[in-house]
Symmetry: none
Subunit: 244 residues, 2 copies
DNA sequence: ATCATACACGAACAAGTGTTCTGTGTCAAG
DNA sequence: CTTGACACAGAACACTTGTTCGTGTATGAT
């Protein structure tokens, strides 16, 4: 049962609620007139009158002659459902952001005509990537084994069928196998070619489906001629604004 | 060496610190003049000048013509931690980590058949986006006016010619005009259609060039039939790994 | 009836405050 | 040298805002 805070008139309560929620939503206090509008009181003096009461009762405090300086000491929330407070909301957002930026090493370029550079297979042996790209951890699946990720810059237009453009950054996780529907970077022995495709195993053969659904799939009859290098986790296109 | 991870000048930093701690101590924002006093700046206009910068950089937001309405988005605490409490320390660390991550609001979806949702044109009036996407500040040009950026989720395959897929996230900056070579989101009156294209002015007509260079451009003879909604800053494709 | 008290309006005022415009000096690029 | 950008001061302005005061109307107690 809702135990209403003691001895507050309806008006006083309404003001307290208003100030509380206003502050949470806006990040600053309402002015006297804004409070007046809300409780349908025409004169600023009357609002001030109520505020004085609330102040004496210890619910709020304010600074003399300072705009929007109401501090709520005992917050009162509307009886309506549990709306998240600013704080819990902020905490939640921070939690979601997991307060972290991942620098993902850019190991080189990915071109159709060549195998892709791969991270050193063994150990976390130090090596300096030329550069790296910062990605918020919140953008990756929580389960992602983040330390293995690496990035490549796309060179050329040969991967247009994968909806990947010259200059795009693809982020990969090393893998030798794939499940149906995953996008993989593969090396095709038959064609001497690196490509990005959606992977589907169909009986004994493999179908490689371009991301652009208007284009035709490739069928690989002998899966041993296909080397999966990694799964595509993300594609980032930084659209460079040309110098005016 | 103190690595200041953000491109803030000393003054800007000092202001951010001041506003942050002032708000924490007082429960409300300082006025422009109070800030000016603190950083020993005589004129309110100069303080406003700095606040505008901080606003554009996305560190704070304020309400036009409203006193003491500064909201600190990425708190910055003074570097003199004389015995920080457990809490303030935690808060500070979170703040520091958050500083380099920009939460960009996702305002809705972008479909060919409808105009795109736009951010409220004036007043940074606080509004709650359904969700947001975190982007590392380092991935954007330093000059970017970060506070205006917004994101849209692509729905449907109608923007394949722009190399943009169903489910992709595009990040935009509002704009009414564009320079040659910039990628823009436009509404075409003649076709009742939203599309993403590279923009080229050619004499009196405009050429809209698909990102996929194998496709043909659109020519708009009467540029008044073309409404530029924003410039594309980035495209992000989170490749969802299907549940194994 | 009288008085006190709580509630209410409106106006007027002064201070607080954000905005804008003009001007000045510096400094580096052209 | 000129130009344009940037950093800064100062003042004028308009709007916002808190404060105060005069007035009015109920209501209840005396």
């Amino acid at each position: 049962m809702v135990r209403r805070s003691h001895g507050l008139s309806e008006r006083q309560l309404k003001i307290l609620e208003f100030v509380t929620t206003f502050q949470e939503k806006q990040g600053y206090s309402p002015s006297i007139r804004q409070i007046g509008d809300y409780i349908h009181v025409k004169s600023t003096s009357l609002v001030d009158y109520y505020l004085k009461q609330l102040e004496e009762a210890g619910y709020i405090s304010r600074e003399g002659r300072v705009s929007r300086s109401i501090r709520v000491i005992h917050p009162v929330y509307p009886a309506t459902p549990n709306m998240p407070t600013q704080l819990t909301k902020a905490v939640r957002e921070v939690g979601e952001a997991m307060r972290d930026i991942l620098p993902i090493p850019i190991l080189g370029v990915i071109v159709a005509s060549e195998p892709i550079p791969m991270p050193p297979t063994q150990g976390t042996s130090y090596f300096d990537p030329d550069s790296s790209i910062d990605v918020a951890r919140s953008m990756l699946p929580r389960s992602e084994r983040v330390s293995e990720l690496f990035a490549l810059e796309v060179r050329g237009n040969s991967m247009i069928d994968a909806m990947v453009n010259d200059g795009d950054i693809v982020i990969l996780r090393p893998a030798q196998e794939a499940h149906n529907g995953e996008m993989v970077a593969v090396w095709l022995d038959d064609r001497d070619e690196t490509t990005l495709k959606y992977f589907y195993r169909e009986g004994s053969r493999v179908r490689l489906q371009p991301a652009n659904s208007t284009m035709n799939p490739i069928y690989i009859e002998d899966p041993s001629h296909l080397r999966i290098m990694g799964k595509v986790v993300m594609v980032i296109r930084q659209v460079s604004a040309p110098v005016s």
